[in-house]
């Protein structure tokens, strides 16, 4: 392996670094310049309580993961025999309830804002898939409680999953498999989707208001009113 070494040399300003690393860095900075990644100003129309529910969802996810990590530290049996563990499990439960509630409100808000407009379809898609992944993650959590509830839910849920062939590979009666899905695979997917979703929001910006339409306004086929890529890529 060879290296292009020039002692004491520093790339002069305006000269682009070569190689894959340089290309990735330039692409990342181009897509997410610091003032776009962490802006200290937002469009003036970002002034409603509905905008709070996105960040509340993120905050609740952080608490869900944090309380889940404490439960993971002590193992799946701990919270059944320790009052401290029982309380940590309750924290996990209520943070999940808050997370799902905030996410559903956020989702409805974005639906009524038609937030997929202006090449923001992938932002909607990553959010919708993240919601679906959250339902799956919560479900596997209920399956791995090791109590009557998990016995009942798993024996009931097996029929739906088996009926379409999923149960052959995703066995809800297998505690070990469900625990791995709950604490490794699905959280990884959910966090990955969340990061992707947030980066898309930062990349595209917050969707602008729907233009007001009044009776007689926006005649059919008016290119000024109807043109544009409502769906489109990210």
């Amino acid at each position: 392996m060879s290296a292009d070494i020039t002692p004491g040399s520093v790339p002069s300003e305006g000269v682009e670094a070569g190689g894959w690393t340089g290309a990735v860095r330039r692409g990342a900075v181009r897509a997410f310049p610091p003032d776009k990644l962490l802006p200290d100003r937002q469009p003036s129309y970002v002034a409603s309580w509905i905008y709070v529910f996105g960040v509340l969802t993120l905050a609740a996810l952080a608490v869900v993961i944090g309380t889940g990590c404490v439960l993971a530290l002590k193992g799946p049996g701990w919270w059944h025999v320790s009052s401290t563990g029982r309380y940590v499990n309750a924290l996990h439960l209520w943070s999940v309830e808050l997370f799902m509630a905030f996410m559903v409100i956020h989702l409805w808000g974005k639906f009524f804002m038609a937030a997929w407009r202006g090449r923001r379809a992938m932002t909607w898609i990553t959010g919708a898939v993240a919601f679906t992944a959250s339902v799956g993650t919560a479900f596997t959590g209920y399956l791995t409680q090791q109590n009557f509830d998990s016995q009942w839910i798993s024996t009931q849920a097996k029929d739906g999953l088996n009926s379409v062939g999923i149960g052959a590979f995703f066995n809800v009666l297998d505690f070990g498999q469900m625990l791995m899905w709950h604490i490794v695979l699905l959280p990884l997917a959910l966090v990955g989707l969340t990061v992707w979703h947030v980066l898309l929001v930062r990349h595209r910006g917050v969707v602008p208001p729907i233009p007001l339409l009044t009776a007689g306004d926006a005649p059919e086929g008016d290119p000024a009113a109807e043109a544009g890529d409502e769906g489109g890529g990210s």
């Binding site: 469009p43 924290l91 038609a114 407009r117 209920y142 379409v164 729907i210 926006a218 769906g231």
Partner: protein
Amino acid sequence: MTPPWARIPQPEAAPAETRSYDLVKEFVIALVAVLVLTLAGAAVFGAPDDKPVTLAAWAKADPNDFTATALSELDGSSDTAGYGAPYNTAAPGQKIGPVGLQKAAGVRHPVDTAKDFVLAPLANAPQTPDVAAALAQYQSATPDQQAAWDKAYSDALTAANDDPALVLPDTGGPVPVLLKQLLAQASSGSLDGALLSQGGFYQSDYTKPLLFLADGGYLSGRADAKHLSGDQWGMMNETGNYPGQAWLWLYTFWYQISPFNHSDNADALIWGLMAVLTLGFILIPFIPGVRSIPRYVPVYRLIWRDHYRRQLER
């Protein structure tokens, strides 16, 4: 007028006006608020933790139901014995129209209910001479003879209202001796371990003991008392007065209405329907009509009311 299926006009490329907005401060405040709500919710409401049902508890609490279920595992009439894939080939499985995904996925978790739930646990435990002889007699008999004993004992048990004590001792050949011993092993707690330890020392797969439990009436009876049955909105509920998985309401809803609540293919049909609805939900931006709904519901006017007011003032 704009047709309902038309796209909502594309917003302007860049906002003309901006305002100060501290994203990090907003996140920190949100995190503190969520922590406070979570700490309070956990402190006030706690979390449910109903102890799991064991085979021992079942055998002690309802020995007749246990014995009837064990017999159904032995004679192949239990739900699991007649389930089909992924446990066995006893049934074709559910279908969506002509498509049978259940059967196509194959038998991935094979279960032989007579062997796994009754005969093997008896054979793997030290037995008295009369039980050992009954087990040897049953296992060396022809399938027809086994079926004849099973049926004789099943008929007698049904006539006795599932009470083994009322069945004549010589009915069903060795079957009553086997089932009585299995009940004794279950009551002592050894059957819980026996069903779980069929694959080695370390265990994490509860498929077999859960299937055996679910075949009986004791587990479902307890669930029914806790309002967890399928016709009570089932598994989206939680034991006690807890919110449970409220987000499963749509999935659970279909089980409450026709034709799903009386269809033999209800599970497959509902999963198929939910797959289509989920795909539609994810792809809303591309579905004409659905993507235009927000324009006709004035929620957006409420969300951006300040913006529109400023626009009108100009």
